[in-house]
């Protein structure tokens, strides 16, 4: 049962019936799902959630899908891991990693895709499509295959080989575009006017975006129904950050959190593509689009559609923003792997480097309970660390050679 009342424009408040539409006809503002929170409050409970499936569908009262799970590969309910070694290294207190690398296609995009394609089936679409910086491509191709939908996935041609292979293997159409993500996005926006396809992040975007809220729900549930003090979230279009914020607020609204949450939300971008961070750092109200140049290709959106909402969420919650260099990204990938045993893709490197930077600046404090969102797996962007790490030594298969390389006394210590 869905508790959706309408779709509402975030800019001007005009309301629309539930349909595969994504912008306000009047002002082009993005539409957002409006819920009947009183009805949700009456229906939802911690016990009901605890008895639900170990996936995003345990929160179906708060998702805009009627028949759920319609498309389900098991997205969600990923580990929340206490990160004491990382915290100590950065001079922080209580730090947790929300490890979303363990999703079916190894990024948080499985959450949004499961919601989007479930809705697409309800609307009767036969073809799934998306514009992607890589992770969404994986997720859409896989979920479309599982649901028996045809798929068209559009990506920039310069994407990591790994992300192309892990998309194409599902057998759908992978269309590589000579251009950056913003070019791909514009093409898809125009194609969506011509073909009756479920473009998950164009005409289904209003529903798609709601899937990211489950990252906040799970975090609170895994902390024993408490909100953290501070979260660090990677930003590409800004949708994920905006929805994590919304998720915590909703939990209080429907009675699942006892105390009103005051979660400080900080955003992470790569310096080579940091339009939202630049607006924050420059104290500007205008987000200027940029041409991306960073190894963090999954975050390489130069013209972020939800950038203004992400900026507002960071400002209103007194969070912070950092823009980190490619070298800092690689160092942070290695730091997280070395201290916590979690291998993140470049987006995770951006997030951990931002955690380090904001900790050093005193924006993130030692007395805060911090949750860091690691949204994609390191195997997706091996190129970032190839050449940086490798065998400690290469030797012939003899004891002597081993002892020449390692001091036996040291080995027994």
């Amino acid at each position: 049962m869905t508790h959706v009342q309408a779709l509402r424009c975030r800019e001007c408040g005009r309301e629309y019936d539930v349909a595969p539409i994504f912008t306000c006809e009047w002002c082009f503002g993005p539409l957002e799902v409006a819920y009947d929170y009183d009805a949700i409050r009456a229906s939802i409970s911690r016990e009901k959630i605890a008895a639900g499936p170990l996936s995003i569908w345990r929160y179906s009262d708060l998702l805009p899908v009627d028949r759920n799970p319609a498309v389900d590969l098991g997205a969600g309910f990923t580990p929340l891991v206490r990160a004491d070694r990382l915290a100590a290294e950065l001079g922080l207190g209580e730090v947790w990693i929300k490890n979303d690398t363990t999703n079916p296609t190894n990024s948080f995009k499985d959450r949004v895709t499961a919601v989007a394609l479930s809705k697409a089936l309800e609307f009767g679409f036969k073809v799934a499509a998306c514009a992607s910086t890589g992770n969404l491509a994986n997720a859409v191709a896989a979920h479309a295959a599982h649901a028996g939908l045809r798929s068209f996935v559009f990506v920039p041609a310069n994407l990591e080989q790994g992300k192309i292979v892990t998309t194409a293997v599902y057998g759908g159409n992978v269309v590589a575009i000579d251009g950056n993500y913003d070019d791909v996005n514009r093409l898809c926006a125009e194609l969506s006017g011509t073909y009756p396809w479920a473009f998950v992040n164009v005409n289904i975007r209003t529903f798609y975006a709601e899937g990211s809220k489950t990252l906040a729900y799970e975090t609170a549930e895994q902390l024993g129904w408490e909100a953290p003090d501070h979260v660090v979230v990677p930003v590409a279009s800004g949708s994920l950050l905006t929805k994590i914020r919304k998720g915590f607020d909703e939990l209080y609204k429907v009675g699942l959190l006892d105390d009103e949450p005051h979660v400080r939300v900080s955003g992470a971008q790569a310096l080579g593509c940091s339009p939202v961070a630049a607006a924050w750092l420059g104290e500007s109200d205008t987000i200027k689009p940029v041409k991306p140049a960073t190894i963090a290709k999954s975050l390489a959106i130069g013209n972020p559609a939800d950038g203004y909402f992400a900026l507002d969420a960071v400002r209103n919650s007194t969070g912070g923003f950092a823009a980190v260099t490619d070298d800092e990204i690689v160092d942070a990938i290695r730091l997280l792997a070395r201290t916590e045993g979690i291998f993140a893709e470049t987006a995770g490197g951006v997030t951990v480097a931002t955690l380090a930077k904001l900790a050093a600046q005193g924006v993130i404090r030692k007395d805060e309970r911090v949750v860091v969102y690691i949204t994609g797996h390191g195997l997706k962007t091996l190129d970032a660390v190839v050449g940086q790490v490798g065998p400690t030594t290469t030797i012939s298969p003899t004891i002597d050679a081993f002892h020449a390389a390692f001091d036996p006394e040291d080995l027994l210590a």
Binding site: E11, F22, T23, E25, W26, C27, F28, G29, P30, K109, C130, A131, S132, T133, N135, L136, A137, Y181, D182, D183, N185, R186, C188, A189, E190, S192, G193, V200, N201, V202, R205, Y208, A209, A236, S237, G238, S239, K288, P289, K291, I301, N303, P304, A305, D306, Y308
Partner: protein, 91 residues
């Protein structure tokens, strides 16, 4: 010769359903003014009360975002295509 303006689905009711409208060349501001003259209503939909383009309206001249060009002062030469595209989410 003329320029072509591609109309997004959301605004085609204003253009009588047409996906493309041909107009005379000039600055982008001139072209959009001519669009409103030919099909009244575009002005109010594309521009806010401050006479600036609304922040979720993206305009491309020859496939380039006008914020990388001269904004509304960008020259739209004969034979060029102008696209009006709503901002969309990332992936």
């Amino acid at each position: 010769m003329s320029v072509t303006v591609r109309i997004p689905t959301q605004l085609r009711e204003l253009s009588g359903g047409a996906a493309e409208v041909a107009l005379v060349s000039g600055s982008l501001a001139d072209v959009l003014a001519a669009l409103d003259a030919a099909h009244p209503g575009f002005q109010g939909r594309l521009f806010g009360d401050d006479s600036e383009l609304r922040r979720f309206v993206n305009v491309f001249v020859a496939d380039e975002d006008i914020r990388f060009l001269d904004g509304l002062a960008t020259e739209v030469a004969d034979g060029t295509t102008v696209s009006i595209v709503p901002a969309v989410a990332g992936g």
